[in-house]
């Protein structure tokens, strides 16, 4: 299992970019952390989600 924002998900083996797009994230508005490392947006497509990965996705909204 994979932990995504604190929840257990059965997504090991998926491409990280495809998974985030499918979940509805606008990738220009998120910061993604994988196992405590920030993953630059342009590298998301190169990553395959593995078992026991811990993923944090921070979604930004406008206003300031």
């Amino acid at each position: 299992m994979v932990t995504v924002n604190g929840e257990q998900k059965d997504v090991a083996g998926r491409n990280l970019y495809d998974y985030l797009v499918e979940e509805g994230y606008e990738l220009t508005r998120v910061v993604v952390e994988l196992n405590l490392d920030i993953i630059p947006r342009e590298e998301l497509k190169t990553i395959t989600i593995k078992d026991d990965d811990v993923i944090e996705v921070l979604r930004f909204v406008g206003g300031g």
Partner: protein, 226 residues
């Protein structure tokens, strides 16, 4: 780049020349309320604020009142009439570059702190040059894409910097939905993380200022607890 151009037209001495309180008087007022150790830490602190709108301008005012010794103020924009509903600026400052306008206000709160101003748009290319030397960075942009860019670039390009970001403060919903949480080792997020100006509800002074205060208070905690 030409330093004079970046820092606007008024010199420090011109702004400080309008002061009506000497440093000893301001210091004494602070010292009567807090232990010396607190003032020492705050006066040595270096904080960068990226974006001088509703979050950044209000945050800077709070940090100046708290005695944060050195602030870097970054924005590429000028004060607009539409900013007056939530930002610290005043009507006579409409049309003035925000870093310069904010420095004017800050100097009227405490002219003895250091305010560095940069009138420039922050990009992935200039993040390191702009923010190097600032262990605490406040993300105070308006657009979600700019917020995400700055947080990603600070966390990847500046290996020790901590970033305090504002995320979600539109409208007039419950004040208590605005919170501060540590999201990553070097990232704190303040806001309701939900309300988006893109959803048709604009920003109003109270909730933006609440969020700015969350960010400013986290900055002070980071300074005093380090």
């Amino acid at each position: 780049m030409d330093k004079k151009t970046l820092e606007g037209k008024q010199s420090d001495s011109e702004i400080i020349g309008r002061r009506s309180l000497d440093k000893a008087t301001l210091d004494k007022a602070f010292d009567e309320r807090f232990p010396a150790e607190i003032k020492k830490k705050l006066s040595k602190a270096r904080v960068a604020i990226a974006g001088l709108g509703g979050l950044g301008s209000n945050m800077a005012m709070m940090l100046a009142r708290s005695g944060v010794g050195h602030m870097l103020l970054i924005d590429f924009d000028v004060v607009d009439v539409t900013n007056l509903n939530r930002q610290a600026y005043l009507i006579p400052q409409v049309g003035v570059p925000k870093p310069e306008a904010l420095k004017e206000l800050l100097c009227q709160v405490n002219p003895y702190l250091e305010y560095e101003t940069r009138c420039v748009k922050v990009t992935p290319e200039n993040v390191a040059e702009l923010l190097r030397g600032y262990p605490i960075v406040c993300e105070a942009f308006d657009a979600a894409e700019q917020k995400a860019m700055l947080v990603q670039e600070v966390l990847t390009q500046l290996k020790d910097a901590i970033i305090v970001s504002g995320n979600g403060m539109a409208g007039f919903g419950d004040s208590n939905t605005i919170k501060t949480r540590q999201m990553m080792k070097r990232l704190y997020v303040c806001g309701d993380e939900n309300t988006d100006i893109g959803d048709g509800m604009g920003l109003m002074s109270p909730r933006v200022t609440i969020c700015a205060a969350h960010q400013a208070n986290k900055v002070i905690q980071l300074i005093l607890e380090s």
